[in-house]
Amino acid sequence: MSPDIQANYPVIIIGSGPSGSAIASELTRAGVRCLMLEAGKYYPRHLFPRPEIDYYSQIYWGGGIELDTTARNGIMRGKAVGGGTLAYQGIMYRFDEFVYQSWRDLSGISYFTEEDMQPWYDRAEPLLHMAPVDERYRNECSRIFLEGHRKLGYQAKPELRAQHNCQWDRGNDCIMCLGGCPLDSKGSMPHTVLKRALRQGLHLIPEFEVDQVEVKAGSIICRGRYRRDRRMSFSCRRLVLAAAPLGNTRLLLKSGFRDRLPALGKNFYIHAQWFHFGLFDQEINAHKGPFQVYGSQDMRLRRKGIKFENTFAPPAGLAWLYPGYGRRHHAFMRRYRYVSCIESSIRSFHPGTIRLDRNDNLVIDCGLTGDEYRRTREARNMAYQMLCSAGAREVATSCFSICPHHFGGVNMGVDGGRSCVDPEFHLHGFRDIYCADSSAFPGATGLNPVFTILALSIKASQQILKEMA
């Protein structure tokens, strides 16, 4: 081992979100010594950053959001032990034939079918406690959402959520858990899947940002900075990339993989989520109790690449999203409790790109075309109809979209010229580097991705174990 290498491991995993956590859990269960490197901090549940300003700044990359080149879309990506799942809403979907058909078309990978993926979902399901929210707890915002769908003739159903014991009857509000759930009720990775891995002997270094990967004969070196300024390197026999689309792509581009992976950074997709607000005469109290309880589940909407969600935002987030400023804006905020909200999530069908500028900063082009914007307007009009039919006297749409779901950049496929990861989860041409996280998705999905990231990562783990044997 060369003197600048701190230690050598059979497997290093970069990133501690659902993919990194699931792979760490599977490999350590089989007795493999693994090291996980995570750029973000570990926050114990009693030390989650609390005022909104602090959690946007601290648990997300870029100080909260990273804007794309149009500044219409703000990417939100978690930076903490647990990745995006510290902030997520725990909504779980098994993808169906509709998604897998499009993935097969894009990737040429034949196991993307409901049937072939089912065993992997079945293995992921017991890792988290999943259940819909009991109807008794739905608030007025949920009622408006449901009623609006009914009036427009669309189906909406309770979402399956990874959470338990939230104790809404004792006055708890899920909106408080957007910066981390202090009750451990939300199925975030640190106290579920990752905890298993830790108990099984996983080594974990938080606050370690890997900035270079170097492949040498028989070993892979990960170089980076620990706690911002200590430069260090670790080596491994096998490397798992689980740093999500922007993290993996940036790392591979910086490390010079573009020559061997011509598709690197090319097939990037998002769900652009727009908030539609309705101001009512009566109190709605959308921030109380559970939120994001229902979602549209209607094939006609899915074919259009539209999903409605019954979400809301805490005050600073809402103030930022709501258009305008000044006294009118104050007047709106003074009516915070009278606001209902429907979010439309627009699935991008056209690939965008991720590249680096001269200073190695990310340049994100979401690739949205007139088609995506047309569907955005269509969804906005539907949301307005739903809100107005329930009695909203004013409606407005957020001044930008947030994008908490992003996919690709290191996409899977059989063709090494058009994709980066082969069906057995290796980077094309690199047998010892694996990837099964959201960056490997061949396209957008229109549905919430975490359940599938877990399933795919468990499948990848079996592949890694097979090759190690």
Binding site: Q6, A7, L35, P44, R45, H46, P51, E52, I53, D54, S57, Q58, G63, G64, L67, T69, T70, A71, G74, Q167, R170, N172, D173, I175, M176, C177, L183, D184, P190, K195, L202, H203, L204, I205, Y226, R227, R230, M232, H287, K288, P314, P315, A316, A319, W320, P323, G324, Y325, G326, R327, H329, H330, A331, M333, R334, Y336, R337, N359, N361, C399
Partner: protein, 157 residues
């Protein structure tokens, strides 16, 4: 309190911008009156260096401009949809950046001894809460600590 990232003169400019974005309405206070600008490092410490540099440059440029000019500039940023390509994108970025600073400080209710945060909180009747505590003790911090092969200074354990 002073800022590690902005000079007092730059903070003054943000206060002037803040007073246009959050002018107060009798119940809600004017932004500059709250003194919340002095908590700007809570976010400045985490924004990318080039964004912070852009904000400093903006503040230095606006420093000697009258309020009316700043008001006009803000108005133009809201008209971004009429400007195609990078011009529109930069206007949007500016709009979101400035609104982000002001509203994040104003509506996050950070601890503030002068009581303005509380006044804003009450002004919008915000009462989101987690009222219970977890029953189980938290064994995760010890697990995470034990899993780290490095000491805090980076030396091997």
């Amino acid at each position: 309190m002073t800022s590690k990232y902005f000079t007092p003169a730059q903070l003054q400019v943000f206060n002037r911008i803040g007073d246009i974005i959050a002018p107060g309405d009798g119940v809600l206070p004017r932004f500059s009156e709250t003194g919340l600008i002095h908590q700007i490092d809570r976010m400045a410490a985490y924004i990318p260096a080039q964004d912070a540099a852009g904000l400093r440059l903006l503040a230095d440029t606006l420093r000697f401009m009258p309020d009316l000019a700043i008001r006009l500039l803000l108005k133009i940023t809201t008209l971004n949809r009429y400007f195609p390509g990078p011009v529109g994108a930069n206007l949007r970025k500016l709009n979101l950046g400035l609104k982000g600073i002001v509203f994040n400080l104003y509506y996050s209710f950070p601890d503030d001894p002068s009581g303005f945060s509380l006044r804003i909180r009450e002004g919008i009747s915000w009462d989101g809460a987690i009222r219970t505590r977890p029953a189980e003790p938290d064994d995760l911090p010890a697990l995470v600590e034990a899993a780290n092969p490095l000491n805090r200074d980076g030396s091997a354990r």
